[in-house]
Amino acid sequence: MDEKIPPGRETSLQQATVQEELPRESPAPDQEPSRTVPRLNTSPLHGLWALTKRDLKKWYTNPYQLLISLIQPAVWLGLFGKAVNFGSFISAGGGSPAQQNAILLGIFGTTSYFSFLACGMLAFIILFTSAFSGMSVVFDRRFGFLNKALSTPVGRGTVVTAKVLQSVARSLIQSAIVLGIAVALGMDTSQITVLGVLGSFVLLFLMAMGLSSLFVMLALRSSNWQTQMAIINLLNLPLLFASNALFPTKLMPAWLRDVVKVNPVSYANDGVRQLLLGAIGANSLFVDFAYLIGFASLFSIVGIVLSWRLLSK
């Protein structure tokens, strides 16, 4: 500070009067809290891990939450996937099995609609988990935890990144469970390879990263959970329906196809189907990966930059 306030301007008198009760500089007190401060770990990863772990621990120690979040895709897979089997329209239309398979391949890129839908469900669960990542920011703000975190040396970017990471971790674990359910319900596993599964989860990771960043970003300034719910509902279903998660792009009207083309969910589905089912994709795997890498990097960076601006008033 440039301008010094003259010390002791109005205080010399009371200093003299309270002198007696004042402690001397030495000897060193024997109480523990006055010990010398230990060497601090100033790496941002230290705080990042602590914050991520906090949210994850609250999640896995509350099995009801996990169970409820798995019921929805299980219902979609078990009921929607089995009942509304678009593939059966084609088999019901007659023709030889070879002709039917050719039509199915042409529309879905694979011969089993259920397997097609199962891959879509992996992205579906990630979309819905990511959408709610912003909610925990709102609640942390409301219940004061956010302010506490911000009054510690942990960076604002770290606080936001931790929220994104916990959502990504939850998304991936849940989609792995959904994959297990899908296989149990009869998903085509003839083409599955270890590399394919790993590649799929890299794609899903990228999508989760981008979507979680987006929803956390939208919650940075909000202290009202109703508004946040409205935002989630506003974005969730369009992102799901205007994608190839449930229905093939080929049968959509042209204007919708253009929307689907920018929706990152479509790229994740496209890649995952190629990797898990050996399906014929709309894009090459390279394009799918490149698009999602771009999406994830862009939104994570924007999220961190916004957190610097929006989390300090």
């Binding site: 306030i5 004042l22 230990p38």
Partner: protein, 346 residues
Amino acid sequence: MSRQENVLFPELSRPIIIVDKLSKTFNDGKIKAVDNVGFEVKEGEIFGFLGPNGAGKTTTINMLTTLLKPSSGNAEVCGYDIRKHSNEVRRAVGVVPQEYTADEEMTGYDNIILCADLYGLPRSDSKKHADELLGLVELHDAARRKVSTYSGGMRRRLELACGLINYPKLLFLDEPTLGLDVQTRAAVWKYIRMLKEQYRMTLFLTTHYMEEADTLCDRIAIIDHGHIVKTGTPEELKASVGGDVITVTVKEREPDLSPEIAQIGLVKDVKKNDGAYRIKAELGEETTPQIMDLIRSKGLHVTKISLAKPTLDEAYLEFTGRELREEETDRMQMFSQRLTMRRARS
């Protein structure tokens, strides 16, 4: 640095907080929450910010702990510029906010460990330190329970322990006893005094409870409408409203000694009616014997004598005015304050 050295060589030890023309406006300058505030806090003292709700106490704390950016002006905390070195400030100070910030779904112990992690304490140290602090605030037995089962007093003590986790030299306490019962309030006061006396900590606290400021603080700043209206020790503030009142009753027929009493150095005002002197004076304890001596030296008799000290309440009302406050607060602030009160009483 001991206070004595401060007096003799004020330039040797810099105050731990130096605030210079600090202001904060909200809504594009329409609301001036803190307006051109300047004060200093010396190392080792308990400094109290006293003021009605909405006076700007929390806004000032939030700026000093780098949660809010000042609109203008600056401050130095623990030797660091709050604008340029906010990370160093955060590392050096402890903060106990007004709200309860602990995570309800976690145990008290896990909450403290989380705080330790956020400050970057190595795990080898944080476990030991967390145990010490839980012992300090007498929460050892409840440490492994979820915070949602805690009473208001236990939550407040946990917040205090969290605020101490980074070995701060300076601790900020925002309304540390808001909504607490008398016993818990006494316990919190005990901890605050212990931190000052045994751990040589400097404490900056805000309160709107008069007796809290009076019993705890070495110095008080009264803040109202974003301005500091008065700074001083509790005694000085009380004295500034007119000093002590000494009432001396004498036998009725005795001559009036008012002019002689008024000659005594510390006496400010003397009135006599119905055989009783009503004397306003500074330092009543010292003035009273002098008055006694004076009356006796004239061969007269005192039948009754009483000394009344002015309360801080009077000083406070003198400086902040008596009109009731219809302050405007935003929804979020109201919610958080109500939540704090509710949890404090749970």
